[in-house]
């Protein structure tokens, strides 16, 4: 790799990592949430009386699972649009 100016190197690595990180951070919570919904629907079909309880629990559980996806999105958006590391070299 040629002798690059540090700002360019940081930008390049940031773009690369943002792409990979966002893909992994989007697939993983989606798969896991799908599994949670599958089990919840199965148990509603088995006992329709407890549908309200299961719905509340499912919603809270999905919010907790979704939050890790939001952490990844937040870090990548901050890296792309308000990168604090670029100011150290300029």
């Amino acid at each position: 790799m040629a002798e690059m100016d540090p700002g360019t190197l940081i930008t390049l690595v940031t773009i690369f990592i943002a792409g990979i990180g966002m893909v992994v951070g989007a697939i993983t919570p989606a798969i896991v949430e799908g599994k949670a919904v599958e089990k919840a629907l199965e148990s509603i079909a088995r006992q329709p009386d407890s549908a309200g309880d299961i719905r509340t629990t499912l919603l809270i559980a999905m919010a907790l699972l979704e939050s890790t996806a939001i952490y990844v999105l937040l870090v990548i958006l901050i890296l792309l649009f308000a990168n604090p590391l670029l100011d150290r070299f300029f």
């Binding site: 309200g52 509340t56 919603l59 919010a63 939050s67 939001i70 937040l74 308000a82």
Partner: protein, 233 residues
């Protein structure tokens, strides 16, 4: 005053004031005005709202929600209106600044201990907290990480929705960002519900089991009560 990241608008006596703080003041005025006006004209509307929050909280905590309804209901209304008010043209959501969600989750953190001590007594609450003594470090770590994740969940949802709408608006203005703004309306209300529900869950894990309500015939009743007969109007 409508930028994506918060900025300082003016200073009062040397203290900088951000645009999200000004939005919070405007939001407080709007909520108070709406509550007074709806309370005079159609008090049933306010009653429906309070009943909805009461059912929600007491369903999650499995106990009567009298002690907790002021705090958790206020959190729900504040966060709901705060997330939505960013869609109004000149105003910005208070929750897109990291300070507001951190303040709200610190309030929830202290309220867990406050309600535990108030409803169970100091030594009983401490014994409940440290029941297997080797789990005490794990309990402390989980309290801290729960508080942090509560604030970052709310902040991350609101800020990333704003950034995405701003990006799409820069690429293709006029009507294209509208579905995304509708999505941020939905996630705003959903995140208010999630914050309140999680705060209710955290408070209820700090308390003991609720006392069982014994029916007239000596059978145990569940809370909230399950009706087997239809209601007569």
């Amino acid at each position: 005053m409508d930028q994506v990241f918060p900025e300082v608008v003016f200073t009062i006596l040397g203290i900088p004031v951000r645009d999200t703080v000004v939005s919070t003041w405007i939001m407080m005025a709007i909520i108070i005005a709406l509550a007074v006006v709806i309370g005079r004209r159609r008090p049933m509307g306010l009653e429906m709202l309070v009943d909805f929050l009461d059912d929600l909280i007491s369903g999650i905590m499995s106990r009567p929600a009298d002690h907790f309804l002021p705090l958790l209901g206020s959190l729900a209304i504040f966060i709901g209106v705060a997330n939505i008010i960013g869609l109004v043209p000149l105003l910005s959501s208070p929750t897109k600044d990291i300070n507001t969600p951190i303040a709200l989750s610190i309030v929830v953190f202290f309220s867990v201990h406050y309600f535990g001590v108030r409803l169970m007594g100091f030594w009983e609450y401490l014994r409940n907290l440290a029941s297997p003594i080797f789990l005490l470090p794990l309990e402390i770590i989980s309290q801290i990480s729960r508080t942090i994740s509560l604030s970052i969940r709310l902040f991350g949802n609101v800020l990333s929705a704003e950034i995405i709408v701003a990006i799409i608006f820069a690429l293709a203005p006029l009507f294209v960002p509208l579905p995304l703004e509708g999505l941020s309306l939905f996630t705003g209300v959903l995140q208010a519900y999630i914050f309140t529900a999680l705060a209710a869950v955290y408070i209820s894990t700090g308390l003991n089991e609720p006392e069982e309500i014994v029916d007239n015939e000596g059978e145990e009743e569940t809370y909230p009560p399950v009706n087997n007969q239809t209601e007569t109007i």
